[in-house]
Symmetry: C2
Amino acid sequence: MTQSARPRGVFSPVLTPFTDGYAPDARRFVRHCRWLIEQGVGLAVFGTNSEANSLSLDEKRGLLDRLLDAGIPPDRLMPGTGACALPDAIALTRHAVTAGCAGVLMLPPFYYKGVSDDGLFRAFAEVIEAVGEAVGDARLRVYLYHIPAVSQVPLGLDLIDRLLTAYPGIVAGIKDSSGDLANTRAMIERFGARGFDVFAGTEAILLETMRAGGAGCITATGNVNPAPIVDLYANWQAADADARQAALNRTRAAFQQFPMIAAMKEAIAVQSADGGWRTVRPPLTELQEGQRALLGQALDALGFAMPGAERLAA
Amino acid sequence: MTQSARPRGVFSPVLTPFTDGYAPDARRFVRHCRWLIEQGVGLAVFGTNSEANSLSLDEKRGLLDRLLDAGIPPDRLMPGTGACALPDAIALTRHAVTAGCAGVLMLPPFYYKGVSDDGLFRAFAEVIEAVGEAVGDARLRVYLYHIPAVSQVPLGLDLIDRLLTAYPGIVAGIKDSSGDLANTRAMIERFGARGFDVFAGTEAILLETMRAGGAGCITATGNVNPAPIVDLYANWQAADADARQAALNRTRAAFQQFPMIAAMKEAIAVQSADGGWRTVRPPLTELQEGQRALLGQALDALGFAMPGAERLAA
C-alpha cells in the first residue's frame, strides 16, 4: 500500500460521546464523524478534546475499528496515538497505520516532567522504529503534538530538528497548540522546506498560519463550527478573509468562556436534541445549569447553528 | 477473605528493571522485591519511581503476577493503580485487590489540568464503586497519591474530606509527596482520627511525620537505603533519632543531585555489579558518564553500601 496524499486543511479532535455509564458510544461517534467528513473536516480522533487520554487502549482500537467498519475513509483520519507508555503508543500507532490512516498525531509521554530532549527523541524514535519495522516506513507519517499547557512536556525546535533529520518523510509535521503564533511561524520558517507541515492548534490563528505557509489547523471547535472554518481555509486569500476570521473568533470565544469539551458537548446536545451528548468522562464534568444558559444565550446571539445536527442524535 | 493489617512503616516505589530492549525484566524485579522485603520495606510497586506510567496495563498485571508467583506476600504490596483512563485504573485496582494486596496507591487522572474537585471525586468514586461491586468493599483499601509537582493535579483537603466521608474504611490514607511538611501535618490533624493514614512521600521528613502522628513513609530511596530508613521508623522515639534522620538526609542528598530514578539504578548497577540495572525506559535517560562518577564519589564519601546487593544481579 502506498501513502495517501499528505493531509492538509481543517481537522478536528473529534469529541467522544459516552453512554450514561461512561462507556464510549460508538453509534453517536460514527454519526458525528460522518457529519464532520461531510462538512470537509478531517478526523483527528483521540485528541485532547476527544478525552482520548481518558480512554483505554482497547477502547481506542475499538472506536477506530468501528469508524472503518462504517466506511469512514482512512485517508481522512489522523488518530492521536501518543501515550505515557511506549507499548501503548506503539500498539495504537501500528493499528492506525495498518488501517491506512493518513497520519498519526503523537503526544510525547507526559507523566514525567522536565525530561531531556535525548529522552524525548528516544521516546518518539522507539515508536517510529517499532512501527516501521512492523508495517514498513512508507506508510508511517507522524505529526508531533505540541500542547505544553496540558501535557506540560513541550517539544522544542531543536528536538523537532533532530527528529526530522533522523526520520525525514516519516516525521511529517506538527500540531502546534502552544497558542503562540510566533512559535507556529518559527516552525514553518525553520522546517517548512523540509516536508514538515505545520497545523495551528486553533482556528483563531488559521488565517495567519496560512499566510505564513502553514498546512491548516486542527481545532476543537471544528466539532461544532466546521463549515465556516473550512470556508476560511479554502478562501484564505479572498478579500474578506479577515472578516471570516473575525467571525470564527466570535464563535470560538462563546465556547471558550467555559471548559471547551463540556461546552461543545452541550452545544451538540442542544442542536441535536439529544441530551446524552452532554456526558463527559471523569475527571471532566458537564456544564452546570447556569453555564448552559449562558452558553445558549451567547450562541443564540451569534445565530449559531449546526445544519444537520439532528443526525447526530443516538 | 478479610482485610490484612493496615499497612504502616516504610514502603518503596520499587524500581522497575528493564532489559536492553526496554522490556520489563521480571527476574531482576522479583529479586529486588525479595531483597526489599528482607530489609523490612513494603512494596509500593508501580509508583512514580517505578516508571509505572511508562508501563502498559498488561505489563503491570504481568509483573504483579510474577511477584505473587514468586511468593512475595501480598500483604506487603501496595501497587500504584491510578491511571488517566478509568478502565485502566479499575482493571489494575481490581487485579491488585483480588490478589490480596494490602492496599492500592491511587494517582488521580493526570492528563487534564485544572479539573474540579467534583470531577476528581467522580474519578475516584467510579473506581471505588466498580471495584467494590466486583470484589466487595471489605477488601478494598485506597491510598490517595498527592504528587502535584509531577502529576500537576493536586488533591486538596476538601476533596479528601469528601472522599473519606463517602467511603470511610475504603479511603484509607494518602502518600503526600508535596514535599511540604505543613501539608502533611494538616492532613494528619484533620483526618488522622478518622482512620486515615498519612505517609510522607520522602524519608527526609520521616521523623517529623512520625512525631505528628503519621504512618510512615513511601520513599524512592527505600530502594537503595532501606535498612537505615526502616531503622529510623522503628526507633523514631529514640534519643538519637535526629542524628539518624540527618544521616538519612545525607544519603538522600547524594542521589538528589541527579535525576533520582537513573541515579538509584546506577547505584544498584554498581553495588550488584550488573550494568543491566542502568536501563530506564524513554522518556527517561541513564546518567551520563560524568554524573556516574560524581554519584560514585558522593556515595563513597558516605561509605554507602547495599548489603546483599550481589543478589540483585540478573
